[in-house]
Symmetry: C2
Subunit: 396 residues, 2 copies
Amino acid sequence: MRRMTARPANAHQARLLQLLRDGGPNSRAQLGDQVDLSRSKLAVEVDRLLETGLVVADGLAASRGGRRSHNVRLNPELRFLGVDIGATSVDVAVTNAELEILGHINQPLDVREGPVAVFEQVLSMAAKLRASGLAEGFDGAGIGVPGPVRFPEGVPVAPPIMPGWDGFPVREALSQELGCPVMVDNDVNLMALGEQHAGVARTQQDFLVVKIGTGIGCGIVVGGDVYRGTTGSAGDIGHIQAVPDGRQCACGNRGCLEAHFSGAALARDATEAAEQGRSAELANRLEANGGLSAADVAAAAAAGDATALDLIREGGRSTGQVIAGLVSFFNPGLVVIGGGVTGLGHNLLAAIRTQVYRQSLPLATGNLPIVLGELGPTAGVIGAARLISDHLFSPA
Amino acid sequence: MRRMTARPANAHQARLLQLLRDGGPNSRAQLGDQVDLSRSKLAVEVDRLLETGLVVADGLAASRGGRRSHNVRLNPELRFLGVDIGATSVDVAVTNAELEILGHINQPLDVREGPVAVFEQVLSMAAKLRASGLAEGFDGAGIGVPGPVRFPEGVPVAPPIMPGWDGFPVREALSQELGCPVMVDNDVNLMALGEQHAGVARTQQDFLVVKIGTGIGCGIVVGGDVYRGTTGSAGDIGHIQAVPDGRQCACGNRGCLEAHFSGAALARDATEAAEQGRSAELANRLEANGGLSAADVAAAAAAGDATALDLIREGGRSTGQVIAGLVSFFNPGLVVIGGGVTGLGHNLLAAIRTQVYRQSLPLATGNLPIVLGELGPTAGVIGAARLISDHLFSPA
DNA sequence: CGAACTTTCTCCACTGAGTGGACAAAGAAG
DNA sequence: CTTCTTTGTCCACTCAGTGGAGAAAGTTCG
């Protein structure tokens, strides 16, 4: 199949595409209820979209008390590729134009191997998905990387945990390989987009998404739009001081949040505790697996291990300490906690909540939900698909 | 003179009004260079604005090599009232439509006396300015209060330092008294608007303004617009923890920034130092004035007093500590330091800079200016005038 | 001084987006 | 079968906006 190349010709068409994306098949009449246009004008724009092939007819809808309406929907053959590169693993997914996941692969990966090796892997994963019949090609791709990005150009800048990537033209290179438009963003921003599109943040205009994985970062949404900062490093909260004169951090300072709590820090502290004989449970797991991860700590805590529970609580306290400051400053309507460490579940959430509600002023916390993300590991790829669809479904 | 009641009829007219406000008198041709409209359409809109009386003819401009152009300008009889209520003093100013200050009064005031008493004083100050011939009436007024505001309604909410004001309909009451449209905002946000309009932040899209006065707060500008948060308390950074297990704060927690550095905290610490005999310079001033203020500390430091200098440095360190976190999170293009405490000048700025540049990541600080505000005590009233003019110069 | 060029401003015919009403098609309710 | 409701199409009309022609007012230079 030839890939779609059409773009909406004006803001009305863009709006209609987004309504069809977020609301599924719709009749002209229903669309008319959601946009401020006369029926005549609306019909004209829908007809034009049908001509481009972006939208197709989708049979008759049930009657609403009169003549049945003709539904339209986004072309079901459209395909987006969502890529979420983490520090130690990568997610690749195929979605339709309504951003439903049709196929999803996760593989371990070391981002430090550099862009060339990583792209080879990503492209072979995409090829595998294509080979399985889910897509004949891609109409667009979104990709998230674990570091700051110069967004307009789609280029990582000075990413601490992925040295070889600095300045690498990710957008252009991938666009070349895939033969379709590509947008690049920070992985945390994509997680925020995902939770906004299909998760807990659906109705929110101003909210924060804190992703605790190998590292720790924060997605910022202002007025419904992701805020990226002047140089693309907004939300880089891993090196905010959480503990004065605390642990030495790789960045050269002491007491950074990331040095005290993150997937890596938790694994390190758990191993330390096991080796020092402070937890039989953790020591057993260390011996069994030859190493410890956040998941081991979660399991140990679930099994009632006090040391593991303490590690989680202490991490939650540090994280809550930093989040409390952000809440005072930003006054969000919602805080979402996500990332690999969410396996720690309620224990972590409780510790964070306690700290935030205690340290921030009542006006900011009075009606502030602090919740776990809804989408888990798919948040990133859904956000990636959302990113490219936002781009393609806006006037050319 | 009858006050102006007209509003721009469409976005084009609004844009033109804003260009005339920010750029002064302009010819149709010059305006045409700045908006994306044909000369014909532009002429039509300018003519309509002339009909409303918002804009008036302003003679012939110098030739640019051909026929001389007819200038137009905002009606020079338009008057805005800018009010900046602080914790211990109030500024009231009259501006023309180009937001130039025509008259300015500052008076001491205790905001805790409640809205009724404060309004009486503000209205008499406004009357005094009117009586001096600067204005026959006001076309609009902007007012800043030292606490969070529910912006759409113009009502303070749960303001810690001004108890009697909670829920008082400031906007409606003042609009009634003055007989003109009124907009209400937090004082720090107005300072940000002021520095954006006429100060150091003229070219910035994303920046922070930290106001250190009796208390401490932060104005946040995102994409050129003030961000106020979900409940209007965004930027309330006075109670972010700066020193773990630090000083007891009025809010109930320990180590809040405001408890360690602000006009009030500095005066308290200086008095303590004087009484404990740690500074002869400060002790002399305490005896002479019967009390100490931030200005005394500034003077003592300028005179070479080591204790005063230490107080400033320590305060700057705490402030920088908090700002460093905000910089990592928000990645602004500029940080402006303002408020009464800016009298401490370079010593304070140096301490803040040191801390921020040391604690935040290079990508965020690499090209980040941290500067003092340009407008001093007029920032608030200019911002107030800007607030109401933005409102009036937008489509009705 | 007059001719040629520039800039500014006005006028006007034309385009194209968008509206709203009339009407037809299709179904529901009684 | 009649009446009412909803959906979709058609069409005349309005109005924002364009772009070119040309007049008005200046400058420059031979």
